[in-house]
């Protein structure tokens, strides 16, 4: 099969791939739904189709990271960014809150609760740090 060089045909090809992907997704969801109805939710989650669906969604989300619009509104409405320490405190509060909820309400082992809290802290801090860096970079760019 020859490589398509014509941009019009490439566009058509892309559209066709999108339709095929959509069809495949609907098929996967239908299979999972049928498994869920007939064999229960555990069987549906254990099925490799579920893993494939999750991996596809993760891959799509990862690829879509570069396809984004500016979430912040105009310069007038934009608030002054918080100092980085504030983000660390928010992340710490999130982690501690999760550890507290797990320990007090779910009756988890204290070590497990702290461990999960620490994971929440790291994940929150990582995402806040990315947002902080992006805002700082853009503010620097705007000046």
């Amino acid at each position: 099969m020859r490589k398509i060089k014509d941009e019009r045909l490439q566009l058509i090809n892309l559209k066709n791939s999108r339709i095929a992907f959509l069809f495949q997704m609907i098929g996967l969801l239908a299979i999972l739904f049928t498994t869920w109805i007939t064999k229960g939710s555990e069987a549906a989650v254990d099925s490799p189709v579920f893993l494939l669906l999750m991996l596809t969604c993760s891959l799509l989300a990862f690829l879509q990271l570069r396809v984004s619009v500016d979430m912040d509104e105009g310069k007038k409405k934009r608030r002054k960014p918080l100092p980085y320490v504030a983000y660390v405190f928010i992340a710490l509060a999130t982690g501690l809150l999760m550890a507290f909820i797990l320990y007090m309400l779910e009756r988890h082992d204290p070590f497990d609760a702290l461990f999960i809290g620490a994971i929440f802290f790291i994940c929150s801090l990582a995402s806040y740090s990315v947002v902080y860096l992006l805002r700082k970079k853009r503010d620097k760019h705007d000046e």
């Binding site: 060089k5 014509d6 941009e7 019009r8 045909l9």
Partner: protein, 63 residues
């Protein structure tokens, strides 16, 4: 109309749709659709057409 201008420029260069398409690296159908105004080409393709027909973007595509 830019549609006819592309065709006129192509004929003036004594090129068929097939020959022009081959030089640019697209299919004949694409050239046909551009001439009919049924396909909106990218700037890259517009430039390729202009270079091949020895015309400017203004000559061929500006209304």
């Amino acid at each position: 109309m830019s549609v006819n201008r592309i065709k006129l420029a192509r004929v003036a260069c004594d090129l068929t749709q097939e020959a022009l398409a081959e030089r640019i690296g697209v299919t004949r159908q694409t050239i046909s659709l551009i001439e009919k105004g049924k396909y909106n080409p990218t700037l890259k393709l517009c430039l390729a057409i202009c270079h091949t027909l020895d015309k400017t973007l203004d000559d061929l595509f500006w209304d």
